[in-house]
Amino acid sequence: MARLTINGTAQTVDLPDEVPLLWALRDGLNMTGTKFGCGVAACGACTVHIDGEAVRSCQVAIGDVWGEVTTIEGLGTPDAPAVLQQAWVDHQVAQCGYCQSGQIMQAAALLAEVPNPTDADIDEAMQGNLCRCGTYPRIRAAIHDAAQKLQEA
């Protein structure tokens, strides 16, 4: 039994302590926005924030979660998307879309740390997030666009 704070809400997950956060979200709480791609931190599809830091949720046991968890569902909703999510829509980034929750969570952490990232910053921050559809040019464009809009706001 683990007690977690997810997207600002206290949650109890009735799973063994060694189960990774990814599966507590997906299977314990039916929060399926966070995706399983590899299980070994090699693809980034499961990226969430813990206390604002981007982490691979497949590698963090629920017994070890050290802070407040934010998932893609907590970033924004279809009716009230975050600026970054709206930039993803505006640039028509997704193809299959399966990796994009992780891409967006990684990009959100980047923008929180570096409000106006260079292409080199984006290369550095995003290289752990794999996309088999090859959407990288539009991910890059969406990050730059969101950075600009967030700075204007």
Binding site: W23, P81, C96
Partner: protein
């Protein structure tokens, strides 16, 4: 029977299935319409298999696998065009399996002829032959056929619904149908009266469907313009539901484990260590493997690794060396195909210089981002299945077979797919989930492949070897003689689709080589098939992914041997053979500012491949940096005949190129002790943000006389363009993939 029941049984004739002829299967049967598979609920009306109307508006059924290619949005726009609706106002559903959804875009691909050479009668015959899809249950998404498949029939579905709704309004208002207009989902009378489609639907369903002419291209408002994809917001907010996201009340989570020596059996297993693990509830025998049941997917996967197995050996050679030896030995066997033979390749033309080269490409895994899975619930009398698949009728039927039920007792939901690339055109994930559900009556269960299980149990893109001989004289190619040997991906897929492997020439093994638009006075391409049990299958662009590298690399070698500029060399041979292809090459030349000269530390390569009816040319630029070679820039040009959605076509082109570059750079499945040696993305990597080239320009041409597909054709030129660029940079010719084994890339 209720009125809705009658409506559900109403049949609707779609598209040119009705045209005279019926070449392959007889006129009457071929013209008989397929039944409407939709069973509308109370308050819903299905005007035809593609358009459903209820009180809330219009739903368009797009019975195609949405695996990222944007087919749902494009097909909805085609229907919207004739419905006089904003595409964004349409709801989209995949719909059930149904014969009415057979793929009639595959016709012209059936000919053992280069597509650029297809004559008018062959195209007409191809359209006839594709009616066969209805008999063969070919509701399939693949072969880059969706645009051609839906181009007429979704507009016809929209047009027929519109006119039939207008007729209902005409009868209600006592006016002539021709006096009515449609706009924004409503019929407008001359006096301004608005009748919404929703309020006319029930009356329209009682009217024999009207089949009007389609509107001319010049009047299109939506088709041909970039549409906002309807799935973008769900995918940006984590609310899109993929196969693995199915959640049902009381659902159990299961992980599959099968013999890593594929095709081998299971002599026994000891589940005790798994059963001792927290969260694990059961280990269930599936015949040639087990499913570990748990209260979460991770514990199920951990449990699957803890089961001790007694596997029996498989039936294909144990190592990559032995497998490739078997491929090479195929050259000593019978020729399977000689689909290109012109002039005389046995005599070296006077004064010509001879060039020979052998090439090799590895087996490849699809490695779609979403690992395979399916979810099933068996009640004893019925089964409900959720599966992200490319062949719904076959998936429904295999689930029924596992359960001993009639197909009608199985409800199949085709979900969104986290990538497919050909892997979801197979039945295994649906079949094993159904088999498991039968052993757990009344309990919904989701069966998951770990990434390792997925990668080690592929229907791999076949590895292949080739031998090329050629000759140049006076700056031109005067001879090409190619031999290609591989396992047949066609036989593997067709034995699932048709229950048998087809006889005769295996076109896919040589596509991308025998069918290229070059005027060669002496040319021959022969295919050889190696017979092994190693599972193979289609992989984005299939044979063209192999031969795009083999054939274009050899053309590049000939150009250099001839002392010619590689792009001008190709263009010279192409202009008289196929002007459309030549325009594509010229477009990429102009876009990239190709001069044939590159400064020190910079290399450029061009490659071309005509596949799935679409000519594509790519230029890749590589830079030597202190950290290694960087794939710096890319330019793409393609001709799709009619561009239905330019922004989506761009995405497919750079995406497909990236897919090809990923394979060219990093990927191979090798075998030891019969098992795949690669397990996960750490040893089967792909292009990432920092290794992705800048896509400088994409040019979309529309010179074709018919529409052609775009999901795959961007892949075949990628490996050759990169290898040709590396030759320009380093002087070293790459004749095998992957390239990271031979060059020092910046990673």
């Amino acid at each position: 029977m209720s009125r809705i029941g009658k409506i559900a049984r109403r049949t609707f004739l779609i598209g040119t299935a009705a045209v005279a002829g019926g070449v392959a299967f007889g006129v009457y049967a071929a013209r008989k319409p397929a039944p409407n598979p939709l069973t509308p609920k109370d308050g819903e009306v299905a005007l035809n298999p593609f358009i459903v109307i209820d009180g809330d508006g219009v739903t368009v059924i797009v019975p195609k696998a949405e695996m990222g290619q944007g087919v749902q949005t494009t097909w909805a726009a085609l229907a919207a065009e004739e419905l006089d609706m904003d595409p964004g106002d349409l709801r989209i559903q995949h719909g059930p399996p149904g014969k009415a959804y057979y793929n009639r875009g595959m016709g012209t691909q059936m000919f053992p002829t280069a597509e650029y050479r297809l004559s008018g009668w062959q195209e007409a015959l191809g359209n006839q032959m594709s009616v066969a899809g209805k008999f063969l249950n070919l509701q399939i998404t693949g072969g880059s056929t969706s645009s051609a498949d839906g181009f007429e029939k979704m507009r016809q579905a929209g047009a027929s619904a519109r006119e039939t709704l207008k007729e209902a309004a005409a009868q209600q208002l006592g006016v002539n149908r021709s006096a009515l207009k449609t706009e924004g989902g409503a019929v407008i009378a001359p006096d301004g009266t608005r009748l919404s489609y929703a309020e006319l639907a029930v009356a329209a369903a009682e009217i024999k469907p009207i089949v009007p002419d389609l509107r001319p291209q010049s009047s299109w408002k939506h088709v041909g313009k970039s549409q906002p994809r309807h799935d973008q917001m769900p995918k940006a907010t984590g609310t899109a539901q993929f196969s693995l996201d199915v959640r049902l009340e009381g659902m159990k989570f299961a992980a599959l484990k099968r013999n890593p020596y594929q095709g081998g059996g299971m002599a026994g297993f000891d589940p005790s260590a798994a059963l001792d693990m927290a969260g694990v509830e059961d280990v269930i025998n599936l015949g040639d493997g087990v499913a570990v049941i748990a209260n979460n997917s991770w514990s199920a996967m951990q449990g699957a690794e803890a089961v001790v197995f007694d596997w029996t050996p498989g039936t294909y050679p144990e190592t990559s060396d032995m497998i490739f030896e078997t491929l090479r030995a195929a050259f000593d066997g019978d020729v399977n195909s000689t689909l290109l033979e012109t002039g005389d390749v046995d005599i070296l033309p006077d004064g010509a210089t001879e060039i020979t080269a052998d090439y090799q490409v590895p087996y490849l895994c699809h490695a779609q981002m979403e690992p395979l899975s399916a979810t099933a619930l068996f009640t004893g009398e019925t089964m409900e299945v959720w599966s992200g698949n490319q062949i719904p009728i076959h998936c429904r039927d295999v689930a029924a077979k596992e359960a001993g039920l009639d197909p009608e007792a199985v409800t199949l939901h085709t979900t969104l797919m986290g990538g497919g690339f050909g892997r979801r055109g197979f039945l295994d994930f649906t079949q094993y989930a159904a088999r498991l559900a039968v052993k757990m009556p009344g309990v919904p269960v989701q069966l998951l492949w770990s990434r390792e299980e997925d990668m080690s149990h592929g229907f791999y893109r076949p590895g292949a070897v080739s031998r090329f001989r050629g000759a140049v004289k006076d700056g031109r190619a005067v001879m090409v003689d190619g031999q290609i040997a591989a396992q047949s991906a066609t036989a593997s897929l067709m034995s699932i689709l048709l229950g048998m492997a087809p006889m005769g020439p295996d076109k896919i093994t040589v596509e991308g080589a025998f069918d290229q638009p070059y005027a060669l006075p002496n040319a021959r391409v022969r295919g050889y098939l190696a017979d092994m049990d190693l599972p193979v299958g289609p992989w984005r662009s299939v044979g063209a992914s192999i031969n795009g590298f083999f054939f274009d690399s050899f053309i590049d070698e000939l150009a250099h041997a001839a002392g010619a500029d590689p792009l001008a060399f190709r263009l010279d041979m192409m202009r008289d053979e196929d002007a459309r292809s030549a325009s594509v090459l010229e477009a990429v030349r102009d876009a990239s500012g190709w001069t044939g000269k590159t400064p020190d530390g910079v290399g450029r390569g061009v490659a071309f491949c005509h596949s799935f009816g679409t000519p594509v040319a790519e230029v890749i630029e590589v830079h030597q940096t202190d950290a290694g070679i960087k794939i710096a820039k890319a330019w793409i040009a393609a001709d799709v005949g009619i561009a239905l959605d330019p922004k989506n076509i761009e995405a497919q082109l750079f995406g497909a190129m990236t897919f090809g570059l990923s394979a060219a750079l990093h990927q191979q499945i090798t075998f030891a002790d019969g098992a795949a040696e690669q397990a996960n993305f750490y040893d089967y990597d792909a292009i990432r943000m920092h290794t992705m080239p800048q896509v400088v320009d994409i040019r979309i041409l529309e010179n074709g006389h018919r529409i052609s597909g775009i999901g795959e054709p961007g892949t075949p030129p990628a490996a050759a363009a990169l290898a040709n660029a590396l030759f320009d940079l380093t002087g070293t010719r790459a004749r095998r993939l992957p390239l990271a084994e031979q060059f020092d890339f910046a990673v």
